[in-house]
């Protein structure tokens, strides 16, 4: 049995620490590339204080589990991963994640966080399936999801407008049966 649900080799999943983390996340919201990769909503810089209020709301929300992704070496927050919109009677939820600083991407942090989050969702929350959305233009996220075993299921045509062009909104899914415990594939 896995008893360490939150410990990876490169990263660990931790609780939010509003005092330290709000400042870091505020910086991320000022980076259009990060904001656009994550969502189809307009980019909107938020102050540390606004982020703190968002954290307060998140903690109250019983339908979601939010984790800070922390580097093992110095414990700084490098990203987040979140299981949200849990619908218990159907056993379904949404998964989202992001690595805030461009310098921290491509190092396997998200991949490892995803492995831990899948184990938590399927092995601890006992969910039946997870969905994840990615804008068509976020090739990095699509690659990470596909490599983790998610299947592309939905293509909402032209649902996103950026820089005068239209892009599809993609949705991926993974069933508990498709999840291979502990395997990174």
């Amino acid at each position: 049995m896995h008893t360490q649900l939150f410990e990876g080799e490169l990263i660990r999943l931790g609780a939010l620490d509003a005092e330290r983390d709000a400042e870091i996340e505020s910086k991320w919201t000022h980076d259009p590339e990060f904001a656009r990769a994550l969502s189809s909503e307009p980019v909107r810089p938020l102050s540390p204080n606004q982020i703190k209020k968002k954290y307060d709301e998140m903690i109250k929300n019983e339908r979601q589990y939010h984790f800070a992704i922390r580097a093992r070496d110095d414990d700084r927050m490098i990203g987040f991963i979140r299981i949200s919109g849990i619908e218990w009677t159907n056993g379904i939820a949404w998964l989202s994640f992001g690595i805030g600083d461009a310098a921290d991407r491509g190092k396997g942090f998200a991949r490892e966080a995803l492995r831990l989050a899948l184990a938590y969702a399927f092995g601890e929350l006992n969910l039946y399936r997870l969905s994840a959305i990615a804008p068509e233009y976020n090739e990095r996220a699509r690659h990470i999801l596909e490599r983790a075993g998610f299947a592309l299921e939905v293509r909402r045509r032209q649902a996103i407008a950026r820089d005068g062009k239209r892009w599809d909104a993609l949705a991926y899914g993974m069933l508990r049966d498709e999840w291979v415990n502990g395997e990174t594939r």
Binding site: S40, P42, E87, T89, I92, E153, R156, Q158, A171, L175
Partner: protein, 185 residues
Amino acid sequence: MTNLLTGNRVRLTAINAEKDAEIMARWFHDSEYSQLFDLVAARVFSTKQVKEFAEKEMEPEKPNTFHFAIRALADDRLVGTTDLSIISWTNGDGWVGVGIGERALWGKGYGTDALRALLRFAFTELNLHRVSLEVFEYNPRAIRAYEKCGFQIEGRARHALNHNGRRWDELFMGVLREEWVNSNW
């Protein structure tokens, strides 16, 4: 110019919470209606609860949701409700739902007629780029009605629903403005 909100058999009007709540509360006591309408567990609502909900939803300070009562042209009787929620103004994406509450009127084209009026509202009044919806695999009548209105299946979240002891897919459908203009204009 024809009335935007009037179809061939129904018209879309404001929900009159005072008068309509009792009828709507009765619909929710038909569990099959609830299960076709929403993926959350069916539950019953009192007239008072429905009235409060309807009053809140009809408030003008909720600019991102448009709730309508569907009334038969013949006798002005309340037959169902329909709603449009803006997912994103910047991307021009709206999400719709339609429900015919009176079981005796299922399969007679009321929902299709109401949705055609709602699409006209979405594309010519709100100027949306696309309209989206979700529908459950166990509701083929609705899928057919949506296809008649021009919606295409854009994907399916496999086994997202646990209904009557087995798993079913959740289907996502969408219609683009240009498709609607070329078919129904």
